[in-house]
């Protein structure tokens, strides 16, 4: 096939990008080479629109062993242990084929983690669907949940936490973000940098097929009415093979045979071989006839661009081939020596004794396009003036019922019951809490992880929204008694070629950067997913933040369920009555404008650290962060989980009840303490200048608000648990 500008455009390359390729090569590329360029230069692999801005994120810290740039980030959790973690999107494939799209998303992220030598110990996910009324939503939700469960359950890795939301902006583009945490010894971490000449390049895992060709390019374009035609670009997952690959790789890694290892993810053999060569400033020579293929007559072009799953590329020490082969034979996996490292600094491919590609590695990586896209700054919207009559007309009981059963607040048990969350025998906080918590096997330590996003806030004001998501992640970790360490981010946005969407991206990233810097909560890994849009309509900006923290003594972990009758309930952090962009404003008042709640990073840090010190001193019996739905929603969930009631008195201030209970001011928590400890707790909070209020006392069975409103806990529970089950049945 002759390559020209038209063919290049069909590969998603712009005309100036094609010209640049010809200039760099000083000739016209052949079709295999063009395929390789298109795979490496697309948005998904090259980060060409985002690189400039991502550079501004804080990525260093005392606990950071490895920041962005490797397969995943690595943090120190002491005693020679480290946690490897990352979040990644699989949005486009999941919309086209929800089961396989979601399943391979989970498979891909686990591979990123065990490529570094870490055994996966926990999975999380953040999934976002269109309006529940939209005709596709139900099937997409079912397919995605089955896919995530199908892969994670089979791998035997517990899915310990997640987040699900519904918003009409995802009608044409759902989001599926998968996160994995792995455990590794600090001195046994594996990297992807190739070193040494004439070292054997090894292919292991599944055979290569024609599935997923151009997957990464598909993920770098908007959808139109022809998306059904893109089904063949979705990969097909085989969790069983991945489980074998995991065990085989870890077995090989226990020795000293491996120089570098890289999984074949987006853009398959192309990106894995080029990244390894590029990091090591080396060349790589591959004989494509040696690649184990699943189908006959595969061309070099197809082999290089296939995104078949469950494959790895390894650079071995010389002479270790036999030993390595024995391990992969034991696990019944393909093993092939396919080439070697060279000093040419080129990627050279051979097929049927002919050279079919010859490209300098730096042209694919360092010389890849970099765009400073035009972007629009957003203004902070004006606050809405809500009349007092609006509030006084409303009954707190009616509002609470609607809020608790709202699709974005209600219990997601229907989802997480389909995920094995207890395999590996170390899950000490299951899904449904503020964070999932797993013990570090055989020790007193545990790690907590949560995943959060707040698209509505980010849409209303990206800078504030970006800060808020990081702050919420921080709070979710603190609420379970974990010291926050670092985050991973998955940045889901519309088209970077649209300056409004690009503006949302730039300012969300700025917000994330400001908050993570202030909270000393660095970004160690992540990915960017642009073009989440169908035709002209993009999604609401949705950065997902995965946070990880450490609990030194797992017996000190905190959960949100109310523990004991007669204990006192307090709020930490000031309630100011911010109603704009709250669930209340959107669902009860049908008001979609206005600014999101302000994020005061000083208060976040101060309130969070003070709560951690109270937990350390054993004063806290239960805790929960206040987020969507405000104080009363948080308290309701604590009642439901604990099967206990509460008698609440709103403190005296100018706010009316509704504003007080449903506002979504930031930096707040609800805590349960013993009556006898009140004095000491208040003393500590006062000393730290932390605003706090006494809210009430735990009682049996009822929620009683200001002596007027009375609900049973069973009632609260039925509002909260039934929506999703009813919707799906």
């Amino acid at each position: 096939m002759e390559v020209n500008q038209k063919v290049a455009e069909d590969h998603g390359l712009k005309s100036d990008e094609y010209k640049k390729i010809c200039d760099l090569l000083k000739r016209t590329p052949n079709i295999t080479e063009l395929g390789i360029f298109s795979a490496m230069w697309n948005e998904h692999c090259s980060y060409k629109s985002s690189r400039l801005h991502l550079k501004k994120l804080p990525t260093k810290g005392k606990k950071v062993i490895q920041g962005p740039g490797e397969n995943a980030g690595v943090i120190d959790i002491e005693d020679g242990d480290a946690i490897v973690f990352k979040i990644e999107s699989h949005n486009h494939p999941s919309f086209i084929e929800p089961y396989q799209g979601a399943a391979t998303g989970v498979g891909g992220i686990m591979r990123d983690v065990f490529t570094m030598g870490a055994r996966p110990i926990a999975n999380l996910n953040s999934i976002h669907f269109g309006s529940p009324q939209h005709k596709k939503t139900k099937n997409l939700l079912r397919g995605v949940v089955h896919g995530i469960g199908g892969y994670g359950n089979c791998m035997g890795v517990p899915t310990i936490a997640g987040q699900t939301s519904f918003d009409s902006s995802y009608n044409g583009n759902i989001l599926v973000n998968a996160m994995t945490l792995g455990l590794v010894k600090k001195n046994k971490i594996f990297y992807s940098k190739a070193t040494g000449l004439n070292k054997p390049v090894i292919y292991v895992g599944s055979k290569t097929g024609r599935d997923g060709i151009h997957g990464a390019s598909m993920a770098s374009a908007s959808f139109d009415e022809k998306i059904e035609e893109k089904k063949p670009t979705v990969q097909v997952g085989d969790p069983f093979t991945e489980k074998l690959l995991l065990e085989a790789c870890l077995e090989l890694m226990s020795g000293d045979s491996i120089i570098a290892i890289q999984d074949m993810g987006a853009a398959g053999l192309t990106s894995s071989s080029i990244e390894m060569a590029s990091k090591g400033n080396l060349g790589i020579e591959i004989n494509l006839n040696k690649i184990p293929c699943r189908e006959t007559k595969m061309t070099p072009y197809e082999i290089m661009l296939s995104e078949s799953q469950e494959r790895m590329l390894i650079i071995l020490e010389n002479g270790k081939e036999e030993l390595a082969k024995k391990i992969f034979d034991k696990w019944n996996l393909d093993f092939a020596v396919i080439g070697k490292t060279t000093n040419s600094k080129k990627i050279e491919l051979f097929f049927n004794n002919e050279q079919v590609a010859n490209i300098p590695v730096n042209t694919l990586v360092e010389n890849s396009p970099l765009y400073d896209r035009e972007w629009k700054k957003s203004k902070l919207p004006k606050k809405n003036k809500i009349k007092n009559e609006t509030f006084s007309k409303l009954k707190i009981k009616d509002v609470l019922k609607k809020i608790l059963s709202n699709q974005n607040i209600c219990s997601k048990e229907w989802i997480w019951q389909q995920y094995d969350h207890t395999v590996m025998g170390d899950t000490i906080q299951k899904p449904g809490g503020d964070s999932g918590v797993v013990r570090i096997h055989g020790t007193d330590k545990a790690v907590a992880a949560s995943v959060d996003s707040s698209a509505v806030y980010c849409w209303a004001h990206p800078l504030t929204g970006g800060k808020q998501v990081v702050a919420e992640s921080w709070r979710n970790l603190i609420s379970v008694g974990a010291t926050p360490i670092a985050i991973t981010n998955c940045l889901n946005f519309g088209s970077p070629e649209n300056k409004d969407n690009m503006g949302e991206f730039v300012e969300c990233v700025q917000g994330i950067g400001e908050a993570s810097k202030y909270l000393d909560f660095p970004v160690v890994s992540g990915n960017v997913s642009f073009y989440n849009q169908t035709k002209e309509a993009g999604i609401k900006p949705t950065p997902s933040i995965g946070g990880v923290g450490l609990i030194k003594d797992y017996k000190k972990m905190i959960s949100m369920d109310f523990k004991e009758i007669d204990n006192l309930v307090l709020s930490i952090g000031k309630t100011e009555g911010h109603i704009d962009q709250s669930i209340f404003a959107r669902t009860i008042l049908d008001e979609k404008n206005g600014p999101p709640p302000e994020v005061n990073l000083f208060n976040e840090k101060n309130n969070g650290e003070s709560l951690l010190s109270l937990i350390e001193k054993n004063y806290i019996k239960s805790a929960h962060d206040v987020s969507l739905g405000g104080i009363i929603t948080a308290i309701s969930k604590m009642c439901i989980k604990g099967g206990k009631g509460i008698k609440i008195k709103k403190s005296k201030n100018l706010m009316n009840e509704i504003e007080y209970f449903f506002s979504e001011d930031q930096g707040r928590y609800i805590i349960e303490i013993k009556r006898d400890d009140l004095k000491e707790v208040v003393k500590i909070l006062n000393k730290n200048s932390v605003h706090h209020e006494e809210l009430g006392v735990i009682i049996d069975k009822y929620m009683i608000i200001n002596d007027k409103t009375k609900l049973t806990i069973d009632e609260l529970k039925s509002y909260n648990t039934n929506w999703l089950t009813n919707y799906m049945s």
């Binding site: 089955h146 469960g149 199908g150 359950n153 089979c154 791998m155 035997g156 085989d238 969790p239 069983f240 093979t241 489980k243 074998l244 696990w331 019944n332 997480w416 019951q417 389909q418 995920y419 094995d420 969350h421 207890t422 395999v423 590996m424 025998g425 170390d426 899950t427 000490i428 299951k430 013990r439 797992y554 017996k555 972990m557």
Partner: protein
């Protein structure tokens, strides 16, 4: 006491079972599916997971694997063989226990705590347990036990039903049945009661910090009975 846990490719509760057995005093060995012979054992466990991917009927590939012939011989000579979850599915496929395990009634994987009631304590697994209702954990997609009418009669006549799904107070109404299995059956013995297959995972309930501790009672009792 010596135990052996068989690892099939795709087993994923093998380590959890190893941890549990050792915690309660067994000297446990992990045995590879491709081995020919079992070491001398007082108990053999087929763990949970997705043996060989379970792309065919669950457990059917594993039931034909190399080590299984000696497991079957061991069981037939009266040795204790316990299959948990996927292990139960494998036992059913070997024919060591009767019946089949179908896909869950609501076609979804279920992971949650359930209550089960013991029906028969005349065996080494449950003898001397001083309570009848246990809280255990299930995590499966194919736990819907089914057998023919004749088989059911035979099973009942021989007292082969090991545990039933129930509620906290031991009631075995249909609503407490998580997966649609016939008569709420959660676990079953062979005729001789030396082979036990069950869906719940006692190895996930061995610590206060986990979902509960009823699994500990089971293992402690088991090792005492074998001694």
């Amino acid at each position: 006491m010596k135990s052996s846990v068989i690892t099939f490719p795709g087993s994923n509760c093998d380590r959890d079972m190893d941890v549990a057995l050792k915690k309660f005093g067994f000297k446990n060995k992990m045995i590879w599916h491709n081995d020919n012979e079992l070491p001398k054992s007082d108990l053999v466990v087929l763990p949970g997971g997705f043996s060989y991917g379970d792309y065919l009927r669950c457990g059917s590939m594993a039931s034909k694997s190399k080590i299984m012939q000696s497991v079957i011989n061991f069981a037939k000579s009266g040795g204790l063989v316990m299959g948990i979850c996927n292990g139960f599915q494998i036992l059913v496929e070997t024919g060591l226990v009767p019946g089949v395990l179908l896909r869950n009634k609501y076609l979804e994987f279920i992971c949650k705590n359930v209550f089960v009631k013991l029906d028969n304590k005349e065996n080494l697994y449950f003898k001397n347990l001083d309570k009848d209702i246990f809280e255990l954990h299930i995590a499966h997609n194919e736990g819907n036990y089914f057998c023919t009418k004749d088989q059911l009669k035979e099973i009942q006549d021989n007292n082969q039903i090991a545990i039933y799904y129930c509620n906290k107070s031991g009631e075995t109404e249909e609503q407490y049945n998580p997966n649609g299995s016939i008569k709420n059956i959660a676990g079953i013995f062979n005729k001789e009661k030396n082979v036990l297959g069950m869906m719940p995972h006692p190895e996930r309930m061995i610590d206060q910090s986990l979902s509960g501790e009823d699994g500990s009672l089971f293992f402690k009792n088991l090792i005492n009975n074998i001694k």
